[in-house]
Symmetry: C2
Subunit: 207 residues, 2 copies
DNA sequence: CCTACCGATCGGTAGG
DNA sequence: CCTACCGATCGGTAGG
């Protein structure tokens, strides 16, 4: 009996892990955490469900590992945009235009992190999100405040981190009617414009 | 055999239905749709789970009935505030201050409506929400545009419905750090102020 | 990497 | 309004 070490046609493959993460990303981003069962992921990978557990200890670990890859990708793009030699508003527009393409559905993701992960996994993802995504964007807002361009908290504005979370809420247009035919680039530009200038009519012409 | 009509100590009670809705509202608003099982609701009401089905055909029906009561309450308060003789910005502040108290967690509710209800129930709730909540607030934005106070879509602004959804997204501060010690009234005022004037520094002093 | 299976939980029904 | 129970699905494990 000691001939069964587990060496089928494709066992312990190191690339299967990447396939799982790829498939999991697509499914989790489309449907959220709960509705995507470990059996769904396995089937989409062409393996059985228990085989998943040779690469990840729990379903939560699959989700977190996938999220980490997404955050790393996003971080690279953010650093690139934030470091450009452009005005703060211009760079805010660039960031806002890039985010929805990489991000897909931030609202769903926040919901899953809050409600489906246990405390350790929640801590891990929250920290990574803060460092890789929030921090770069917040530095942009901070720069605008240092220049006197943006209102600081004591001038009726927000601190840099609050402003960043607000930007995320603005960009999230799921459930808004008419969001289908509007291009996401137009929407991003519009939201940044309103965030900067507000809805009140500017008086540079007449009324 | 026609002696079993079902008449235990407390059967078919008409007030049990109200108790169920009351309990369901508390649980659903605290935890969301999925985690609150029909057994939880029944236990909190002091009855068994199958007894629920004497008052509601499905779990979704409980949720929708509860939502309808909340929307009706909210509608009354909105009509009252919107009809006041105050400026549009003042009434927007009043509405923004009232919403979080009645609403609790709009993000969770939207998520549940989208992901946990089937198409008929989703339609029902979406229509009620649009008519009882969105419409009154949108009329306020429309009034502001008619006065030339707020930017219309062709002036870089939003139409009244889009502006209303945006207001909801602004008021939703779940997950924002520091949202614990900030009073919800302060937060509401701040968000309306930013929605109206933006984050750009106004030049009415120097700089 | 597989087959087989566990314990738990769910919404809902049968039958009285 | 109750007891008892159904069929389905879930995450995860045993054992090879």
């Amino acid at each position: 009996m000691p001939s069964s070490q587990g060496a089928q046609p494709a066992d312990k493959t190191p690339e299967t892990r990447q396939l799982i993460l790829q498939v999991a990303q697509r499914l989790f981003m489309e449907q959220g955490y709960r509705p995507v069962s470990t059996r769904h992921i396995a089937a989409a990978c062409g393996i059985t469900q228990p085989a998943l557990y040779r690469h990840f200890a729990t379903k939560q670990d699959i989700y977190v590992a996938m999220l980490m890859e997404m955050l790393a990708l996003l971080h690279g793009r953010l650093e690139h945009l934030v470091g450009r030699h452009e005005s703060v508003p211009t760079r805010l527009h660039l960031v806002a235009r890039m985010l929805p393409a990489t991000w897909i559905d931030a609202r769903q993701m926040f919901h899953d992190i809050e409600h489906e992960l246990d405390e350790p996994h929640r801590q891990t993802t929250a920290n990574a999100f803060r460092q890789q995504v929030i921090a770069p964007i917040a530095s942009l807002f901070a720069e605008g405040m240092a220049q006197g361009l943006l209102r600081s908290p004591d001038q009726g504005g927000l601190n840099a981190t609050e402003a960043t979370f607000l930007l995320f809420r603005l960009l999230d247009d799921h459930g808004t009617p008419g969001s289908r035919d509007r291009s996401s680039l137009q929407h991003a530009d519009r939201m940044v414009d309103i965030l900067l200038h507000g809805l009140i009519q500017q008086r540079d012409g007449d009324t």
